[in-house]
């Protein structure tokens, strides 16, 4: 018998030998069981019934009284419900265990990260009193796959839609905009001291000369984007 699936058959009793039983289930549905139609494999009673059927094919089937049939149906419904309940409990247990595992992993990750501070990597601090992450220094060199983000206030969808409207009017596909690089290069070309279009951000400003290594490393003090303009 399939416990999770109980087929509902609603048919008027035509042959006189069929007994239709109406069993009120625990919830709201009404189950109409035709004893003859149920496949009772693996069940004691069904075994008995089968045996009895096998024993005498010519004889009329054994008559079950109303009491036993009703009890049988009730028992079956009860066991179905119990199995469903057990499965639910099992799933719940599984979920709880998974949650615990994640919590444990989180703690071990934190412990792993708080081992030291690298002198040449700056540390990001999340100023958050309400959490376990009180005043923790997280060295960047150890942060490979962890990303720390602050939960921002959700903007209402209307405000977002309004901003999208503004953005599409200013920067949408029909806005005919160019880049700041282009603007600056035109200024260079048309200015009083005509210069090359490309050279408006001095990348070599602030060249560091490192004494120990004795070599020149070019790092500029600012991070502007720069694309040479052609044509």
């Amino acid at each position: 018998m399939k416990p999770a699936v109980i087929k509902f058959l609603l048919k008027l009793p035509s042959p006189p030998s069929q007994v239709c039983l109406i069993v009120r289930a625990l919830e709201t549905c009404v189950v109409l069981i035709r004893i003859r139609q149920l496949n009772m494999a693996g069940d004691k009673n069904s075994a008995e019934l089968n045996l009895s059927l096998e024993q005498s094919d010519d004889e009329a089937p054994e008559e079950m009284n109303f009491e036993s049939a009703r009890n049988e149906a009730l028992r079956r419904v009860k066991s179905a419900l119990e199995t469903a309940k057990r499965e639910k409990e099992q799933l719940k247990e599984k979920r709880r265990k998974r949650q615990e595992l994640f919590q444990e992993q989180k703690v071990t990750l934190l412990l792993h990260l708080c081992t030291g501070i690298s002198p040449y990597a700056w540390a990001v601090f999340c100023d958050d009193d309400d959490d376990d992450l009180l005043n923790v220094c997280i060295p960047l060199s150890l942060m490979e796959t962890v990303t720390v983000t602050t939960a921002k206030q959700q903007m209402s969808y209307q405000q977002q839609a309004a901003q999208n409207f503004l953005h599409s009017r200013f920067y949408g596909p029909e806005s005919r905009r160019t880049t700041n690089n282009e603007l600056l290069s035109i200024q260079n070309k048309k200015g009083p001291n005509k210069q090359a279009a490309a050279q408006f951000v001095k990348k070599n400003w602030g060249k560091w000369h490192l004494r120990e290594q004795g070599e020149k490393s070019t790092t500029s003090g600012h991070k502007s984007e720069f694309k040479p303009v052609t044509g």
């Binding site: 009193d129 309004a162 005919r176 600056l184 720069f226």
Partner: protein
């Protein structure tokens, strides 16, 4: 003069925010400027366009429009709120939900008792302005489509509302729509896109002026609901309009960065007056989103973040300082703090703070040379702020062990521990509860006290200790001023604290006795920098109108030098500079030197030398260098100005007598602005 080793710092990635809205108060002559990030700034126009106050923004707060009602300031934004600001305590006073979705515009009637707001849901809502709040009165007839702009007729009987593809005129009393003016869409591909009426103006002769996204300024007859004239002024959007108070001229701002002026003139003797396009100003590189036409100037602001004041030459005297073009680029308030003994810099951003250690150089060189660097500057700490309010002030103690910052809702204090090359930071949890916000923060030179500027022009003193930080005292003025204290200057010996507020008052407190020592006589201009000389204990004050004063704390009167300077008067070129002095400091090697700077120059005032003659050159350093020694002495004067450094945000002197100059080249800012419109220029 003096020789200084200079740390030139360009790693402060300061990005100003674009200007979203402007509103001018004719009565108090204050300009309110709203930025994209949600902050609101107040400029005092008569006092040399001094940036008086800054109300910090907040994550999620958006400001789309500003409106003055008397001396009260209101704003609306896409968050659906109407906000009134407390201009004494520099924070929003309260917010009112409009319940119409995002709010696009706000306009006040002539009497100043009703506000009309245009909402996303198609309603124009009327609010009554009461003494301490605003109250919803009613809705006008709801329309299909968002209301982008609103304008009251001066009589208060009609309201014009700019929407998508049309303008509606409402009867303000009944709330019904009287006229519908259809606005033509653009040509070509723009025909498929709705045209947005970005701005409107309703004049007293029932003319309506509209500015739309198809690049036109249209003149309508409000009585008949018909179009009089269309002016095509740009291929892009016309984003802003402003009409003069006497309704004789108006200006329109475009996405190209141009501002076009129209004047109500008659083209001939017998002709009627009509709106005729006159001047075009091109002072911006990016979209102009906000405009104000005052009696004498065109004030514009937009996505290139610069506030431009262009005096109209037919209203002011030509070739004077008054007629010069002004571009206000950098904030007046200092965003850089320095731990002078530890060689650390603190940079303030709206959402985080950065602590950097300065690099080290070696060797010596001649003036103008670059020295070799043996250690690069490095970023030590990146501290994200807590909560959604933007950071309004911050400070680093001279020893580098304490860091404090404030938002409008909280003040936070941190302890920095240095161990060799490593640095760690820990929060000080217990602070006095009433210290909830500070407009300005400052540590004492010996790092034992924190001064926080609080309400009612008072300053809270907190003592810092290893175990706990205790409240010591609140230094209050007797003047009853409610304006915030924006400058704090403790003396090196820890005895005095000088404060200045936006009511132009300068007070000096005795920190040993914890009471007011003296008040400097009020001078009509706002102080922009104050400092106490470490040796003479003279207080040096520089005002927004460029005047320099020296006040003796011992004698409680102006010094002899100061009186002489006032008698002679400052050099005209000094007075013509258009950026305020933001820092004053002194030279430990020479007690006659007072060093100060503004955005474009560094000046060493030598009190032992004579004052410059108004007829001679002020900027004479270059010419002096060319003269022989003997000649130099004859031509030298007290104001030695160096212009080698440009776009200077801050100049600080360290304990080892080197200078730190934090520059922010405008080119770097410009390369990170939003995209400008594509303008094809001939031969490029």
């Amino acid at each position: 003069m003096g020789e200084f080793k200079v740390h030139r710092v360009r790693f402060f990635d300061y990005m100003p925010s674009g200007i979203r809205a402007l509103a001018f108060n004719r009565g108090t002559e204050r300009l309110a400027v709203a930025r994209d990030q949600g902050s609101v700034e107040l400029f005092n126009f008569p006092d040399n366009y001094c940036q008086e106050k800054v109300i910090p923004g907040r994550d999620g707060r958006s400001v789309e429009a500003l409106c003055w009602v008397g001396s009260r300031l209101f704003s609306v934004g896409l968050d659906g709120l109407i906000t009134e600001y407390d201009l004494d305590n520099l924070r929003p006073k309260y917010t009112v939900e409009a319940y119409g979705g995002p709010v696009w515009s706000i306009s006040c009637n002539l009497e100043g008792n009703l506000l009309a707001v245009g909402c996303e849901d198609g309603t124009v809502k009327i609010f009554e302005v009461l003494d301490d709040r605003i109250q919803f009165q009613r809705n006008l007839d709801r329309q299909k489509g968002r209301i982008i702009s609103v304008s009251w007729h001066p009589s208060g009987t009609k309201i014009a509302a700019g929407m998508m593809d049309m303008i509606r005129i409402f009867d303000a009393e009944t709330g019904h729509a009287i006229h519908r003016l259809l606005v033509e869409r653009g040509v070509g591909t723009a025909k498929n896109r709705e045209v947005v009426v970005w701005s409107l103006a309703y004049l007293s002769d029932n003319t309506i002026i509209s500015a739309d996204s198809a690049g036109k300024v249209q003149i309508w007859d409000g009585l008949t609901g018909t179009l009089i004239r269309s002016h095509y002024i740009t291929k892009w959007d016309v984003l802003a309009l402003s009409v003069a108070h006497d309704e004789s001229s108006l200006i329109a701002g475009t996405s190209e960065g141009t501002v076009v002026q129209f004047q109500f003139l008659s083209s001939g003797e017998q002709q009627d007056k009509e709106w005729i396009r006159t001047r075009t100003f091109k002072n911006h590189t990016h979209d102009v989103r906000a405009l104000v036409l005052t009696d004498i100037a065109v004030v514009s602001g937009g996505m290139d973040t610069q506030l431009v004041v262009r005096p109209l030459l037919d209203k002011v005297e030509k070739n004077t300082a008054e007629s010069a073009l002004r571009k206000i680029v950098f904030p007046f308030k200092s965003l850089v703090s320095c731990a002078k003994k530890a060689g650390l810099l603190l940079f303030q951003f709206p959402d985080h703070l950065e602590v950097w250690r300065l690099g080290e150089s070696e060797g010596y060189g001649k003036p103008g040379e670059c020295l070799l660097i043996k250690r690069k500057p490095e970023k030590l700490i990146h501290l994200k702020r807590k909560g959604e309010d933007h950071i309004c002030s911050s400070a680093l103690s001279p020893c580098g062990s304490w860091l404090a910052y404030s938002t409008t809702s909280s003040v936070r204090l941190y302890r920095l521990q240095h161990s060799g090359n490593n640095i760690s930071i820990s929060k000080v949890s217990k602070l006095p509860k009433f210290l909830c916000s500070a407009h300005q923060l400052c540590f004492s030179p010996d790092s034992t006290k924190l001064f926080a500027s609080s309400t009612q022009s008072s300053v809270i003193v907190i003592s810092l200790g290893q175990s706990e930080c205790k409240y010591v005292h609140t230094l209050a003025t007797k003047s009853g001023s409610r304006q915030p204290v924006h400058l704090l200057a403790p003396s090196e010996d820890g005895k005095w604290l000088a404060t200045a507020n936006t009511d132009c008052e300068v007070h000096v407190y005795n920190l040993n006795k914890l009471k007011l020592h003296c008040t400097v006589p009020v001078y009509g201009s706002c102080p922009t920098a104050i400092a106490i000389h470490p040796m003479t204990s003279n207080l040096v004050i520089v005002h927004a109108d460029k005047q320099v004063f020296e006040f003796s704390l011992g004698q409680k009167e102006y010094t002899e030098w100061s009186r002489k300077l006032q008698k002679q008067g400052l050099h005209p070129h000094w007075l013509e500079r258009d950026t305020p002095i933001s820092h004053i400091f002194f030279n430990p090697k020479n007690s006659n030197h007072i060093i100060m700077h503004d955005v474009y120059m560094l000046c060493v005032i030598d009190q032992s030398l004579p004052f410059p003659d108004p007829k001679t050159r002020l900027y004479n350093q270059m010419s002096l260098r060319g003269l022989p020694e003997a000649e130099r002495v004859r031509h030298s004067h007290a104001f030695k100005i160096c212009k080698s450094f440009q776009d200077v945000l801050s100049v600080i002197s360290l304990e080892d007598q080197s200078l730190v100059i934090v520059e922010r080249p405008l080119l770097d800012i410009m390369s990170q602005l939003p995209a400008p419109v594509l303008q094809k220029k001939f031969a490029t």
